[in-house]
Amino acid sequence: MIGILALQGNYQAHIKILIGLKIPVKEIRYPDQLIDIDGLIIPGGESTTINDLMKRVGFHDEIKDFSLKKPILGTCAGLIMMSSLIRNDNQLSTLGILDIEVCRNAYGRQADSFIGNVNININEQAFKIKAPFIRAPKIISVGKSIDVIAKCNSDIVVVRSGIHFGLTFHPELSDIAFFHNYIFTKKNELMKENNAA
């Protein structure tokens, strides 16, 4: 059972992808629901709103604990929440699950949102996808524990840290199930990969 943090944002699109993969899914709105799930998605939305709603019911520490054993996928605002540091914002309390520094709305306002060509390179497999970047963040520096999985032009757009993945764009809006499948149907292999590394 995979959980989707359903406080705010486009969580329905992720649910649709998981249903397509025949993965059982549960909407998570309270920290105590984390007990029932084997992995978590933090969706896109407005990071200020998601951060605020997380604070109101005490999600921060609970998700940090969860991340010690189980995989988390964050897209866009979800990636911002998983980061260690935000260059242009000191109001948000990020989770520090990914050792990266990000910049919010780094491409600009909605006028600068775009569909990007993403070059993915994972486990010696290389391929391209197209997906929307909506008021997207940029990853401006990565720590030693981080593997860069994909780039769009010269920007890092997918990172991996052990069992956790962060994306600056929205595969779920283009019906791309690759990441959900990779992380959540092969969860056990991912753990092994991680332990081997």
Binding site: G45, A77, H170
Partner: protein
């Protein structure tokens, strides 16, 4: 960029606003309060609907300086309103790089026959509707988000409920029709046939569907979400109340926990007075904002 990709990017932002609250604000100070309360976006306008109703006169797009001040004071998306059919106001708002334009019945219409051709813009548009035909006409013109109109500035949920029920009923109706009935349905509702086919297949609008016009309490927000809204706009309901920030926060919580009545008890407890509101019988038909546009 081909047109369909442009549309995907427009709808993308609407997708990110789901499960949230978009709040009307009149200055940078209110915008900051809205952001603090957890709003997913703010709608910049010179006078909130309740004041427009009270003061009368022509309601136009906002002063660019006021919009810039708001853009500089918050990190969440900033939306602004253009008059129905006033594409020049929309062009100015696009040049200002607002994140969304609301072609809104709250402002005094500029064109009684034509709405803005929104497909020509790069900025996404939201438009109001009272029924499915109106929604699909706006989507046909390029709207990336639909909101049911309700009655702006009324503090009265009854019209918002009427419009949401109407849209949902008509959508359900289409899903059980045979192919040969869809053309007649398109004719009767005055909607583009291809969009009617699409709705019949999807069982929902092809763009996000939000609710507006009369939401004043956490319970109102929960009601609209349970009726099928994917986010709510709160116009006068916050800054016409006695306690804007706590009420704003409470409505944000109510949208997240809309199905949890016990949590809604907690959320609704201890708020000061909601905006007073008006009964529909006190608003003559000619003065109803929802009648603007078609």
């Amino acid at each position: 960029m081909p047109k369909n990709e442009n549309f995907e990017v427009k709808v993308g932002l609407a997708e990110m606003l789901k499960g949230g609250v978009i709040m009307d604000v009149m200055n940078a100070e209110q915008a900051k309060q809205a952001e603090q309360a957890g709003a997913v976006a703010v709608m910049a306008l010179e006078r909130i609907p309740a004041l427009i109703r009270k003061e009368g006169g022509i309601a136009r797009a906002s002063d660019p300086q006021m919009i810039k001040d708001i853009q500089n004071s918050v990190t969440i998306p900033v939306m602004a309103k253009a008059r129905i059919g006033h594409f020049a106001e929309a062009q100015i708002l696009e040049a200002l790089e607002v994140d969304f334009i609301d072609e809104s019945e709250v402002l005094t219409p500029a064109d009684e026959h034509n709405h803005i051709w929104k497909n020509d813009f790069k900025v996404p548009f939201v438009c109001g509707c009272r029924n499915l035909g109106e929604a699909l006409r706006r989507i046909g013109e390029g709207a990336a988000m639909i909101r049911t109109k309700g009655e702006p500035g009324s503090g009265n949920i009854v019209e918002a409920v009427r419009h949401m029920r109407q849209v949902q009923n008509e959508i359900k109706g289409l899903t059980v029709m045979d192919q040969d009935q869809l053309m007649a349905a398109a004719k009767n509702m005055g909607a583009p046939f291809s969009l009617v086919q699409q709705v019949a297949k999807l069982g929902k609008l092809p763009v996000p569907n939000f609710a507006a016009g009369g939401i004043a309490t956490p319970a109102d927000a929960s009601l609209m979400m349970q009726l099928g809204a994917e986010t709510v706009f709160v116009g006068s309901g916050i800054f016409m109340s006695d306690d804007p920030v706590p009420r704003g926060k409470a409505i944000v919580d109510a949208v997240t926990y809309y199905q949890d009545a016990k949590k809604l008890v907690e959320i609704s407890t201890g708020l000061k007075s909601a905006m007073k509101g008006v009964d529909m019988s006190e608003i003559p038909e000619a003065e109803r904002m929802q009648e603007r546009g078609w």
